[in-house]
């Protein structure tokens, strides 16, 4: 579905990505894990055209993604849950969800999807008229996910959905991701929380300083000694 080949990105001479390749197959959850500054977000930002790559290609359903304008991405079925949530703080929860469906014109279907989001996140229904800026971090994350889903994406990309959230909330969020996936959504999940992400993923990639160093199924990576040492911490694994 989405294919990244030899992608290189440089910020003023500093190479953030040094030729990475990654593939997301339809119906799968693919995760990219790595430490701070490894280049995870840079990769996502180049998919949505927020950074200009130096070399490489990104194809989505056979289409060159660099030729697609940013505001046409959702029409092509790509939605992003941005890092740090980036909900519109002055708008109500409802408006935030509606802006997720900005390019859609099928009003009946939008209403149905809104109900679907509210069953996924009953909390959002309760806070429908509240300004998004007044929500807690976890609620904002739910809103950001709900907003992305409102565009009826084929590919949902999530940038660090667990960032800055309490462990219990993280569990909730990952349960939701699992639920959305079971309804047939293709997901590209970028995470620092390797343990949670790899438990969820069909395919995992490990990125280190701009290079993909490992690739495998989620389970393979969880069992990999290097991954354990670098990202999981022995104690966490021991508890499992």
């Amino acid at each position: 579905m989405l294919k990244i080949e030899n992608l290189s990105v440089a910020y003023g001479g500093i190479e953030a990505l040094k030729g990475i390749s990654l593939e997301v197959e339809e119906g799968k959850i693919v995760t990219l894990v790595g430490a701070n500054g490894a280049g995870k977000s840079t990769m996502l930002r180049s998919i949505v055209g927020l950074v200009k790559p130096k070399a490489g290609s990104i194809t989505y359903q056979g289409k060159n993604l660099f030729a697609v304008k940013r505001h046409d991405l959702v029409k092509n079925g790509i939605a992003l849950v941005p890092e740090g949530r980036r909900v519109f703080p002055d708008m109500t929860v409802l408006e935030n969800l509606k802006i997720g469906a900005f390019t859609r014109k099928d009003h009946q279907e939008i209403k149905a999807d809104l109900e679907w989001i509210y069953t996924l996140f009953p909390r959002l229904k309760e806070r429908e008229w509240q300004a998004a800026g007044t929500l807690s971090g976890g609620e904002q994350q739910m809103l950001a996910v709900g907003r992305a889903l409102m565009s009826r994406p084929k590919l949902l990309m999530m940038d660090e959905p667990s960032l800055g959230l309490a462990p219990l909330i993280i569990k909730d969020i990952f349960n939701i991701i699992r639920k959305i996936h079971s309804q047939g959504m293709t997901i590209l999940l970028i995470e620092q929380n390797a343990n949670a992400a790899l438990h969820l993923a069909d395919v995992g990639y490990v990125i280190e300083t701009g290079r993909i160093t490992l690739k495998g199924t989620g389970k393979e990576l969880l069992d990999n000694e290097d991954v354990k040492k670098a990202y999981l911490g022995e104690s966490v694994v021991a508890k499992k």
Binding site: V48, L50, R70, H71, D72, L73, V74, K75, A79, L80, P82, G84, R85, R86, F88, P89, D90, M91, E95, K98, I99, G100, F102, T103, G133, T134, G137, Q140, R147, S151
Partner: protein, 310 residues
Amino acid sequence: MMNFNAVFMYLTGMDLGTFLQHLTNGISLGSLYALVAIGYTMVYGTLRLINFAHGDVFMMTTYFAFYGVSTFMMPWYVSFILAIILTGALGMLLEKWAYRPLRDAPKISIMISAIGASFLLENLAVVLFGGRPKAFPSVKILTDSIQLGSVSIQKLTFVIPIVTVIFLVGLLYLINHTKTGMAMRAVAKDYETAGIMGVNVNLTISQTFAIGSMLAAVGAIMWGLKFPQIAPLMGVMPGLKAFIAAVIGGIGNIKGAVIGGFILGIGEIMIVGFLPSLSGYRDAFAFIFLIVILLFKPTGITGEKIAEKV
């Protein structure tokens, strides 16, 4: 009533009729400032840019309307509507040529570009229209006076606030209840995320400029009717004062711009009304008021929220 009038006169040194006359004058001047101030505040809200050319866009409208009536012999209402539309287009071109190429450049570059655009429009007007002031077409039906008791008031004094309120209501509806308005608010907060949501950011910014410029155009036409002398530099002072109104109200906030406009307009007229000896300092009032506001409430009366929970 007589008693009240006497008490009022004793307290203020002005009789009630005169006071009301000053008040209506202040409200109508304030309306004009408010209409122009909205353009500053909308552009600032979206691009964090002080659009220094806004006052000159205001000036261009009066010339468009002037030539529509004088050279092209159009009826005044056709000419006025056309002038408003042309001004909207001018605002969009201004954004496209002077600001869009610099959108990701440091803020200071785009600000300098705005100053350049301002000088360009002013001097272009001198070249195209001549430096000598021209007389704005007068529209009897609007500029006539009516007799109210002992005082006679120009109809325009009432027409201006009414027109302003109509446009304000329309604007607030557009911003709060339409998809375009939602896009504008989203782009103003976070244009990257808005783009990812499918909002066409360039188009939305263009629309913001068009609307801001057209509101200034409405103000300019009424300004021309009220003070019927137009010149290439006529936009400078109203532009500056509207900018001050936007800052006083809290720049980036539309309601703030309107409040600021009225405070400035009424304040200015009242200073002259109560202290005629200071009427020479009429323009200074706005600037002194600005300094005071910046000293005590730098974010303006409505004060854009600075800290947001993340």
